[in-house]
Assembly symmetry: C2
Homo-oligomer: 166 residues x 2
Amino acid sequence: MAGSKLDPIDRHILAELQADGRMTNVELAKRVGISAPPCLRRVRTLEESGYIKGYHADVDARELGFEVQVFAMVRLQSQAEADLSAFEARCRAWPLVRECHMLNGEIDFILKCVAPDLSTFQSFLTAELTAADNVASVKTSLVIRCAKDEPGLPFDVLEARLSKTA
Amino acid sequence: MAGSKLDPIDRHILAELQADGRMTNVELAKRVGISAPPCLRRVRTLEESGYIKGYHADVDARELGFEVQVFAMVRLQSQAEADLSAFEARCRAWPLVRECHMLNGEIDFILKCVAPDLSTFQSFLTAELTAADNVASVKTSLVIRCAKDEPGLPFDVLEARLSKTA
DNA sequence: TCATCGGGCGAAATAATATTGCGCCTGAGG
DNA sequence: CCTCAGGCGCAATATTATTTCGCCCGATGA
């Protein structure tokens, strides 16, 4: 099973750093119950082996003037791999698109977008997204409010799962 | 305009910390072109005033055994505020639900969920989500692959915008 | 059962970073 | 021109990160 190369201390480290990525190594070591040097070694190993992909400050979008958040459901005309890749590449190049997920079912892609205001988004929608090659239809939904936005993973679910197997 | 209380150095700091939340203050100061003490003071101010909401390690879901990611589109029977809030509270309590956004249009909520495997998600879907009070319908879409997943905001868009106004 | 070996831990020393204190400069307002 | 507030950076100090190294434990094999 994936993740089994990690012991409980490693998982504890991941959970703590997911919750507070700027915790000092001393504090982290204290929380997971080992001393600072091995704790730091574990963190470095987790980083190098890809369990930790990076660290990011969580910036308040509204405060910074990004008032609008939108989910866009996109259907394409062709689902040939080359066409899918081409669309993905376009998404990567659009700064207003923050996430692009390929889905199963009727909808081919869902995009999470941000914009400073509605008119900026509308311009993007009509001039770029809807107008893009191979795009059959786009349905958009404005985010009215966000009830939950937890970064990362539920480590408690993971622990529960592992304790069953063990 | 929102964000106008920030000068270019503040925005530069936010952009850098969004890209690498564990950068040392010395390195950050060097990049934004001031010395370490005022840089740290700015960071603290940004944290206290809420521009920076936190820092998080970005953990690899697949590596940790979360193979499945799903978007769930939920419609409710009642959209009275009390019922909306009740549903949001339920979402906050479900660990598999990582994000919950209220939308305009036909769909009332979109949820981003993760699970270790499909059967875990199916159990959650049938026993919890679909079965929950006031839920009229749930449409789910499995994420086949993720083409883009940029944390945070496009600071280049913000800068472009501000330079126009200025 | 007992020697050997590898891996991981932690104390201690050292290097780097964060944080505080303070004097200087600058620009706004009188 | 003077004064004051705000923000900077130097220098000193406190914390933290990182390296070094010896110890312990558990696995392996004679």
